[in-house]
């Protein structure tokens, strides 16, 4: 996260490869389900033996004695509808919810976040020297109206994308944050409205940042968890 500060996001998980290295983020939407982005995974039927999610700690690489850290193997990956760029990861066992680990809400189907809502991104990714890269960082971004964003991107905006406005200070997600949450406070609850996807440049100051619009895929998410 570039231009952010250390913070607490108890639904943000660190996804780690067989060598235990963090490579992407995710969001805990059910005790045994994490949402992330397709870009982070080699295929829709990848063998994820040895891959894990890490929750309950603010540290990217916590020491062995971190009190609330939970590390849970990933059992399965399920790819979302074609253009969604979403994946759901089924954990080998349910996460234990506590003050450090919480579920984030899913939005109502096709819900539109009102423009100007200040939402939050979180991750253990590259900070480009703007914050301590060894802990979880968060940053606030205002949602941009669909039409305005579409105009700024000269009509290239997709229905499945959600925009936040560029900030002069250069605030945004970066390498290692992909798959993490864009969470917005709605009715006093934090709701997963967007998923961080790779862009060609981090924290642009001249263009809106794009996220996967989760409310378009809530029916698929519920269906996967039900099935």
């Amino acid at each position: 996260i570039v231009g952010g500060q250390p913070g607490n996001s108890p639904w943000t998980v660190s996804i780690r490869n067989r060598a235990g290295v963090h490579f992407c983020g995710g969001s805990l939407v059910k005790e045994q389900w994490v949402i992330s982005t397709r870009q982070c995974f080699s295929s829709c039927d990848a063998d994820l033996a040895g891959y894990e999610v890490q929750l309950g700690t603010l540290f990217k690489d916590p020491g062995p004695g971190d009190p609330d850290q939970q590390t849970i193997p990933i059992a399965r990956i399920v790819c979302g509808p074609s253009e969604s760029q979403l994946v759901m990861l089924k954990l080998a066992s349910p996460a234990a919810l506590n003050s450090r680990v919480a579920l984030i809400c899913l939005p109502p189907e096709r819900y539109v976040v009102p423009a100007g809502t200040v939402c939050e991104i979180a991750g253990w990714g590259e900070t480009r020297g703007t914050a301590d890269g060894s802990v979880l960082n968060v940053a606030q971004l205002p949602v941009l109206a669909h039409g305005e964003c579409n105009a700024a991107l000269r009509g290239r905006l997709k229905e499945s994308e959600l925009c936040t406005a560029p900030l002069r200070a250069g605030v945004g997600a970066c390498e290692g944050d992909y798959g993490g949450p864009l969470a917005c406070l709605t009715a006093d609850c934090w709701v997963l409205e967007g998923v961080i996807t790779p862009s060609r440049v981090c924290a642009r100051t001249d263009q809106p940042a794009l996220f996967i619009r989760v409310s378009l895929y809530v029916d698929w998410i519920h269906k996967v968890m039900k099935m």
Binding site: D47, L58, S82, I104
Partner: protein, 459 residues
């Protein structure tokens, strides 16, 4: 520090069945796999053993999978350990330990039975210790050319069998990541440590954690994209060492998906020219050692195309990556390179959400065959012709009985994938209602709450 298991090759969840079992194998005994291996190695008649991990029992066996009237059978309770000498189809050193079943000479002559003294009389008579059985090639006199035999041709008394050394039997391409031969010694002759053991050297390469790296027994492998196959050694003073394995000369094209404008899978075949990280930092040239020293020297990785400073994936990481030109950031993924689409082309199209689609596509977008709607396997359907009679759930055709907003779908024949969408796209111009403006007030329960105090204090 050598484990007695080093003499054995393990087959997981497998049992050896001899029909009829004569003589019947001895009764099971208690013991760990290593204890059983020690007993089996000491016993002349023992060639293999079953090990039941649950009950920590083992059963010594006088036969292997190559013995007559014996067959392998899946059995999740057992691991089968067989003496390598009886399984290997290559030789170590002069091959005096070879116990394979080759029975023809290098010129194709059949071997005379060791028991027989015609057409050639000789003094090498079978004994429980010398392994001279049937008419198999053996090396009772440690001939340096390796195993040999008397031949059935009266004019040719004996002849070498020409069995290859293990380091030559299976060659390696590129850096040997896909080498699956049976060399279990390093180039200095030190025996390798088993991958499933953590002594004498602790290591991260657990076979279960890296199922695609072939970390079997104590064979030389290349799980970390080193220059060539290696292993941890049984010498406590030497952690790991390269192995000597013949490089393939025959030009076997490596089945790699070479792509340039996007990357597929982990991007090991990506040969495009993106050379900047997503945070705008230029990549370091692969042939440079500053600001970051590394072992991925281009000439040692000829198959990885480590040209210039392009993003590449020489070590099987999650995606193409590079060393960065910034001293404080050693490596960065190049996730911003587009992924190649990996779905079947659409065969038909649907209107709306496809709830009235009546076509005959019966495959998912990944090409998996759909499960018939009336079937109960591999997935017990929650939606079926009984529950949704009006949805035309015929055969295994893609349908949309629950008005899924992402189009027709089906249960799949892949046990790991309950359902998936199909290789059908929305017809152009089919109007899908655009995203609704704000719906009425929303309610959430048991989610999205956090202790805001922590927000201010961090940790």
């Amino acid at each position: 520090h050598r484990s007695p298991l080093n003499d054995f090759q393990r087959l997981r969840a497998t049992q050896l069945l001899a029909v009829p079992a004569d003589p019947p194998p001895p009764p099971p005994e208690r013991g760990s796999a290593e204890q059983c291996a020690r007993r089996c190695a000491a016993g002349l008649a023992c060639r293999a053993f079953h090990h039941d991990r649950q009950s920590q029992q083992c059963q010594l066996l006088p036969w292997t999978q190559h013995s007559p009237h014996v067959q392998l059978q899946k059995n999740i309770h057992y691991d089968l350990y067989q003496k390598k000498d009886y399984l290997r189809d290559c030789i170590v050193a002069d091959g005096s330990g070879y116990r394979g079943t080759r029975a023809t000479t290098e010129k194709g002559l059949s071997c005379q039975h060791w028991q027989a003294t015609t057409p050639h009389d000789h003094r090498f008579l079978p004994s429980p210790r010398n392994g001279l059985e049937e008419n198999y090639c053996r090396n009772p006199d440690r001939d340096k050319r390796g195993p040999w035999c008397y031949t059935v041709d009266p004019d040719v008394r004996h002849q070498s069998c020409g069995i290859k050394k293990c380091e030559d039997a299976v060659c390696m391409t590129c850096n040997g990541e896909d080498y699956r031969g049976t060399v279990d010694r390093t180039e200095s002759g030190t025996e390798c440590q088993r991958w499933d053991l953590q002594h004498p050297h602790k290591h991260p390469y657990h076979p279960n954690k890296y199922p695609d790296k072939g970390l079997d027994d104590n064979y030389c492998r290349n799980p970390d994209s080193s220059e060539r196959p290696w292993c941890y050694t049984t010498d406590p003073g030497r952690e790991r060492e390269y192995c000597r394995i013949r490089r393939c000369t025959e030009k076997r094209p490596r089945p790699l998906n070479i792509t340039t404008g996007c990357f597929r899978g982990k991007g090991e075949g990506y040969r495009g020219r993106v050379n900047v990280t997503v945070s705008g930092i230029p990549c370091q040239r692969w042939d440079a050692q500053t600001p970051h020293r590394h072992h991925f020297v281009p000439e040692k990785y000829p198959c990885k195309d480590l040209q210039e400073n392009y993003c590449r994936n020489p070590d099987g990481s999650e995606a193409p990556w590079c060393f960065t030109a910034r001293p404080t950031l050693r490596v960065a993924f190049c996730f911003h390179i587009r992924r190649c689409p990996d779905e079947l082309g659409a065969q038909e199209c649907y209107h709306g959400h496809g709830e009235r689609y009546r076509g005959h596509v019966g495959k998912t977008r990944k090409g998996i065959t759909c499960q018939p709607w009336a079937a109960q396997a591999p997935h017990v359907p929650q939606i079926s012709p009984v529950t949704h009679p009006e949805a035309h759930l015929e055969e295994n055709y893609c349908r949309n009985p629950d008005n899924d907003s992402h189009g027709p779908w089906c249960y799949t024949m892949d046990p790991r994938t309950p359902f998936d969408y199909c290789a059908i796209k929305p017809c152009s111009g089919s109007v899908v209602p655009s995203i609704l403006e704000n719906t009425d007030a929303v309610e959430f329960e048991q989610c999205g709450r956090r202790d805001e105090r922590l927000q201010r204090k961090g940790r």
